[in-house]
């Protein structure tokens, strides 16, 4: 490529990457502001908005609910997704694609439609506005992320390894424990991380299914932003940015980003 053209394309790319990162950087920087109003660039540096965030009853209980939802979703979905991925591998060929599509359906369908369906259904069966109903919603939406991750890890396993194990006299369970499990563990871990972060950030589902008197962190931030525009919201939001960076780091360390996406 000619040199001026290369500089031009480099500049365009730099702008595009800056566009991607700018809102995240701005939120994170604003949360460390020392001033009283949300201004950019922030005045001074302090942790006071984090201190106020952790002293705020409603934010704190919202954070606890969000963490609980995310944790339960991650654990439940890892177990379910692992079973689903093992099932998927053993299915006759022509049933595999339909099953895969069914499991990743919550990812392909707009979250708002799934949430509306669940709103009606949970009300019908007497679970309307319950914490259990919201947890179900989070599990349904996070399942595809874990499934894709475990299924990808399972696909990497050479089936001759399992045959070798079986021919050496190992039973199904023994083969799973000593051959399959160690090989898919990183995939399960990655899937659980994705499920955690997706649940932690989930908005529309929580908005429609939220239990009476219960708020998740994104809902609390949303309510707060309707009336206030100060760095406390930025502190709450930066927690989410921090989790995301942590997940990116952990995924890169375990299976590598390029393979995970």
């Amino acid at each position: 490529m000619k040199r001026p053209l290369r500089y031009l394309s480099g500049a365009v790319l730099a702008l595009l990457y800056a566009f991607l990162l700018m809102p995240l950087v701005v939120v994170a920087l604003a949360s460390f502001s020392g001033g009283e109003v949300l201004r950019f660039p922030p005045e001074g540096f302090s942790f006071k908005w984090y201190a106020r965030f952790f002293a705020n009853e409603s934010f704190l209980s919202a954070l606890m609910l969000s963490l609980r939802l995310a944790l339960v979703s991650a654990v439940t979905v890892s177990v379910l997704a692992t079973m689903a991925a093992l099932f998927y591998r053993r299915l006759p060929y022509r049933w595999r694609e339909p099953f895969r599509i069914l499991v990743i359906m919550p990812l392909l369908l707009p979250e708002i439609l799934t949430a509306i369906g669940l709103l009606f259904f949970l009300y019908r069966v007497g679970l309307g506005s319950s914490a259990f109903g919201l947890q179900i919603g989070h599990i349904v939406v996070t399942l595809p992320f874990a499934f894709l991750s475990v299924a990808a890890a399972l696909q990497q396993i050479d089936s001759s390894l399992e045959e070798a194990s079986a021919s050496l006299g190992a039973g199904t369970f023994e083969t799973f424990r000593r051959i399959v499990w160690p090989l898919i563990r990183p995939g399960i871990f990655t899937g659980a991380l994705f499920a955690f972060i997706v649940s932690f950030d989930m908005f529309t589902m929580s908005f429609l299914l939220k239990p009476i008197g219960g708020n998740t962190l994104p809902l609390a931030v949303f309510d707060y932003l309707k009336y206030d525009f100060d760095p406390m919201a930025a502190a709450a939001a930066t927690l989410s940015v921090g989790f995301a960076l942590l997940v990116v780091l952990l995924v890169e360390k375990t299976v590598g980003l390029r393979r995970a996406f």
């Binding site: 359906m105 369906g117 009606f120 908005f203 994104p218 949303f222």
Partner: protein, 287 residues
């Protein structure tokens, strides 16, 4: 590996049960709800009617919102594609040493909640925000602009949300192109842009189609961004549906509106897939 079909069925049962009860039945319930009558003091009545659909497709207001939502969705999808393609091309051929960094740049926004990213834009375009300050410093404007609560900021914020969804499938499609095709194109005398136009672009169509469908479906069902950044001025289908469900407790009509949105989505996605199919078939044997 051979194992008893019963044991296999046992592994699959929990997931199938979960999805049947909490995905298939709820969608069925939504369809059923859209044919119910409204009632006072309860979310829905016992009788059946087609009137909800009559109102959803017949009332000029709701039809207008539906069409506008589809239009905004198409605009957002095109802009997202325009911004994503260069990033995908870069990501597909970036050296191993740097790939972690650039992948992280694309993936981290994906892992941060939509609400947080919208909030970032609220700060950027706020009255005393960095964008206004830069424009003032450059002398392009005399006084800060009111940039919140209008269509452009909703579109920008949604494009930002969807770029990673578009970049990843296109990157995967580009990485699957056999590099010898580029050499062949060059040795046949093609210039850089000709190779792009006749080799790279056609072979990336499957990735583009996947990204376009995903982004379009997500764009027309977006809820938080239009509400937070558009305020009262930008009315999209999702906020109307939610208003019917949560605000006025008109569940049957809300369900019919949601169904209208789904039906239009299915039609739009099928049309797009049909249009792209000849191109996909032509390039299929190369990828």
């Amino acid at each position: 590996m051979r194992s008893s079909p019963w044991r296999t069925a046992l592994i699959g049962a929990p997931v199938l049960a979960l999805l049947f009860v909490f995905l298939v039945l709820p969608y069925g319930e939504m369809v059923v709800m859209s044919f119910r009558t409204p009632a006072n003091g309860a979310p829905y009545g016992d009788a059946w009617t087609l009137a909800n659909y009559g109102r959803a497709f017949g009332d000029p207001f709701y039809l207008g919102v539906l069409l506008r939502t589809l239009g905004i969705g198409a605009l957002i999808t095109s802009l997202t594609l325009l911004l994503s393609y260069p990033i995908a091309m870069h990501l597909a051929r970036v050296s191993d040493r740097w790939h972690v960094f650039f992948y992280a740049c694309v993936v981290s926004p994906l892992l941060v909640g939509v609400l947080v990213r919208n909030f970032g834009w609220m700060i950027v375009v706020s009255f005393q925000g960095p964008l206004n300050q830069v424009l003032l410093a450059l002398g392009l404007i005399n006084q800060p602009l009111r940039l919140l609560f209008n269509l452009p900021i909703v579109v920008v914020a949604l494009v930002h949300v969807f770029v990673p969804f578009m970049v990843l499938p296109i990157t995967n499609a580009l990485r699957n192109i056999d590099p010898s095709l580029y050499d062949a194109s060059a040795s046949l005398g093609a210039k850089g842009y000709e190779t792009f136009w006749r080799v790279t672009l056609p072979l990336s169509v499957p990735g583009v189609l996947a990204g376009v469908v995903l982004v379009f479906v997500l764009a027309i069902s977006a809820f938080v961004t239009p509400v937070l950044l558009g305020g009262q001025n930008i009315v999209m289908m999702s906020s109307i549906v939610i208003q019917q469900l949560i605000g006025v407790f008109a569940w049957p009509f809300g369900a019919a509106l949601a169904m209208a949105l789904s039906i239009m989505t299915i039609i739009a996605v099928s049309l797009l897939t049909l249009i792209m199919r000849p191109l996909m078939r032509r390039t299929a044997r190369w990828s």
